[in-house]
Symmetry: C2
Subunit: 499 residues, 2 copies
Amino acid sequence: MLDERIRCSRLKDKIMTAEEAAEIFKDGMIVGTSGFTPAGYPKAVPKALSERAKKGEKVEISIITGASVGDELDGELARTGVMTRRYPYQTNKSCRDGINNGDIEYADMHLSHVPQWVKYGFFGKIDIALVEAVAITEEGGIVPSTSIGNSNVFVEKADKVIVEINTSQPLELEGVHDLYSPANPPYRKPIPIEKVEDRIGTTFIPCDKDKIAAIVITDIKDNTRKVSPIDDIAKRMAGHLIDFLENEVKHGRLPEKLLPLQSGVGSVANAVLGGLLDSKFEDLLIYSEVLQDSVFDLLEAGKIKFASGTSLTISPERLEDFYEKFKDYRGNIILRPQEISNNPEVIRRLGIIAMNTAIEVDIFGNVNSTNIMGSRMMNGIGGSGDFTRNAYLSIFTTQSIAKNGDISSIVPMVSHIDHTEHDVHVIVTEQGVADLRGLSPKEKAEKIIENCSHPDYKDMLKEYYNQAVKNSKYKHTPHIIEDALSWHKRYLETGSMKI
Amino acid sequence: MLDERIRCSRLKDKIMTAEEAAEIFKDGMIVGTSGFTPAGYPKAVPKALSERAKKGEKVEISIITGASVGDELDGELARTGVMTRRYPYQTNKSCRDGINNGDIEYADMHLSHVPQWVKYGFFGKIDIALVEAVAITEEGGIVPSTSIGNSNVFVEKADKVIVEINTSQPLELEGVHDLYSPANPPYRKPIPIEKVEDRIGTTFIPCDKDKIAAIVITDIKDNTRKVSPIDDIAKRMAGHLIDFLENEVKHGRLPEKLLPLQSGVGSVANAVLGGLLDSKFEDLLIYSEVLQDSVFDLLEAGKIKFASGTSLTISPERLEDFYEKFKDYRGNIILRPQEISNNPEVIRRLGIIAMNTAIEVDIFGNVNSTNIMGSRMMNGIGGSGDFTRNAYLSIFTTQSIAKNGDISSIVPMVSHIDHTEHDVHVIVTEQGVADLRGLSPKEKAEKIIENCSHPDYKDMLKEYYNQAVKNSKYKHTPHIIEDALSWHKRYLETGSMKI
Ligand SMILES: CC(C)(COP(=O)(O)OP(=O)(O)OC[C@H]1O[C@@H](n2cnc3c(N)ncnc32)[C@H](O)[C@@H]1OP(=O)(O)O)[C@@H](O)C(=O)NCCC(=O)NCCS
Ligand SMILES: CC(C)(COP(=O)(O)OP(=O)(O)OC[C@H]1O[C@@H](n2cnc3c(N)ncnc32)[C@H](O)[C@@H]1OP(=O)(O)O)[C@@H](O)C(=O)NCCC(=O)NCCS
């Protein structure tokens, strides 16, 4: 079986244990790993590395990934103090705690910017690329597993490459990937994608065999998160969103088959895609990052014609089923490097409908997706900025309240901004839809408060806004500067935004 | 002479006075005009239209432009109440006053988004395109004057087209423009620009002759703004910036001839480009929006090989000189529609070095370029977001203080955000440079305070930051939520941010 997985016989000399491979890491190194929202990340070597730290060795390293990775990597390395610096996206509890208590220096970046920075040298030299793969070809080409992320650029730029061949990942994944790496300016050419399904590259990551320093065989499964069942609130949001899209079609502002859809992560995102199952839309296209369970439901139901992403994130309970049926979907899926899946050029050209989730939104349409109460990092901006800014239509969903109603997700001023009002076209809560296109800040405020806010907070929001319009000396974006963040202050002091 | 300017004899029937053309406008119309930072905007017809309002007629219209336009348009129509809605950028005092006292609904948009929105129908139907031109060709093609902006998409989409042939604009401008309009998704193709100088379209705006409803002959000159002389502060900023670029070249992160430069508007931007005159850089390229005086100085000095923009904005005192020498520069200049000059696809492909100006910056690297004290609209975001987000390197300049030192331009939290920390690589003030690439928020704060803040405010900033690190429960982006905007509050109450 290993002959199928490692087809270059010369490279078999490089097979070693995870413990042996872990010795290659030195204190102070910069390491790029595979992994995206947590699929296709390395598992055995990080665990072995954390064992070194547990024995008292000092190995502090910077980790750059595609996006979020599982506990075997982010959790282990955060808890053992190996990870001192982290880019660009994470969702692991231990990692997040380390970031928020000040132990881990975290820089939250647009996912499409990371591969460029690696190639421009902005992170410094990448010492090691640590990537999961299903196979290595005759020529040393690395066939990724359930995600690509930045694996190709790490392999391109790192001094040494360590490959985890994961035998729990089906070999049938081979052929699904499409690897393409644009040159740096001034030599960069147009990315020749004109349709969601266009193939432009190779099915493996080209790699100089001499750079491969270790091959580790593992069979640890992707540790993806459970998808919460679709609740009533999520269903209402999905319903509003689909009504909105239908209305756009009716008015000729969207084609009948819509345009390629991008959908963020999390339960609401999953519910929204789920909602399309019962809609009358047909022959849909997905151009996104993460292909979640709902994408496969839609493929099975024949609602989706083709889906392009950079990772296949299947929930634990669906994984077996997915592997079984995978051959049926294969021809309708493509995985691309995040430099391509999230590329502004391609997103704008294809005219994506972007649907992402906000933590909070302010009355003027600014969105916070990362820093709770201005300070506490949740996950990161991920690819939401890449899609939102370049989308044909940019939609944000959020429940109108959080924490059992002690928090209004619609506030006078958000405590942190990831997406400015210039990039937010439509807001959807379970209360309704606010179409903000072409409105001035004052008109946006009136519409957001009226259509999207929770009844418990609507009058308070109106009161703030009316006072601001009355008393603000300048009325373009009326604010009462000393009260703008008072709702957050009240929550921090009393545990509720209510008065 | 008119034969040269209006080459289609059938269209001569459409020649009329500005007053007659002004009668075509009806109450409630949406009008798209030429004009960009203020060059190439229509002048005679708007003036005539404002006369109708002065006589008591109700004509309230929405105006969409390329970017800022002169007083004959924005000033007249704002003062007479004709302009009730305005997109996407302005710099005129009367217009700005109207926006800030609540009379004009203004939506501040990314300049590259506007042409798409027109073509997608997001603004509704465009009733009239009102554009300045130097000539109309045999086939009805419109040859723009000193700017393109959105003129081509307005002409494409409007029911009626009104052309102001401006005989004060030299006919030699013909040939400088390069008109290209990408199709809407799902039919859009790659924009085939691989080099700053690539020509991909026609030298005129194609126009159905039957749509031309009026031709008005005028000779009113572009009413551009004076460029302030380069002062010491601006020189110091330019010096820091050039040192920084030289250091990037030294470390192999930039090629010797740099990459194409974009430069924002205003005096500092002009000074920075001016600073390149005395630098050792050679054979530079410009890929920007506005080509200001300094670009022509650099062309004359042989420092610049080629410059691409969407407008030629020459200061009044240089205009005669410019017209005289124009034939020498012609081969080295191209004007593009703003859908192309500001296109994320092209900006990212070419790898632009973006240099824009901030009003204020916070310690975590977020930038406010539009809303003074969170409420008062200055100009608008313009193209700064198009360039900043997609740049190879994104640099913001600002003086460390404003209003004679009563304002610190470095604050704990900006009162409005146009560019988030994800998009800001480098900050330059007269005090120094903060290179923020790869840093966590805390590291950014320390560097910005240390390198960029004014001595009068440095200790106050350190005090805020240290207290925030100490007391903030979550330390990713340490803030004291009740004090974050207290500097602005103090300024509004006492006239100074100082204690
Ligand atoms: C915004 C985001 C965190 C929402 O995730 P989700 O799973 O749909 O949302 P939830 O409603 O479960 O909220 C997540 C947490 O935020 C909290 N929260 C939600 N709204 C809040 C608000 N207004 N104020 C404070 N906390 C809030 C929830 O209570 C929950 O907290 P908990 O983990 O302590 O229970 C997530 O979508 C994200 O990280 N987005 C940014 C990246 C992105 O968009 N990626 C897509 C392309 S990669
Ligand atoms: C930011 C911007 C306003 C600066 O313009 P500038 O001419 O270089 O800057 P100035 O220093 O003259 O400042 C302009 C005004 O803002 C005020 N100002 C500057 N910093 C300030 C601060 N931190 N707080 C309050 N006011 C401030 C100045 O006092 C001045 O006010 P005044 O007109 O009442 O005298 C201008 O660059 C802009 O509009 N940028 C956004 C659009 C853009 O970037 N376009 C480029 C691509 S199109």
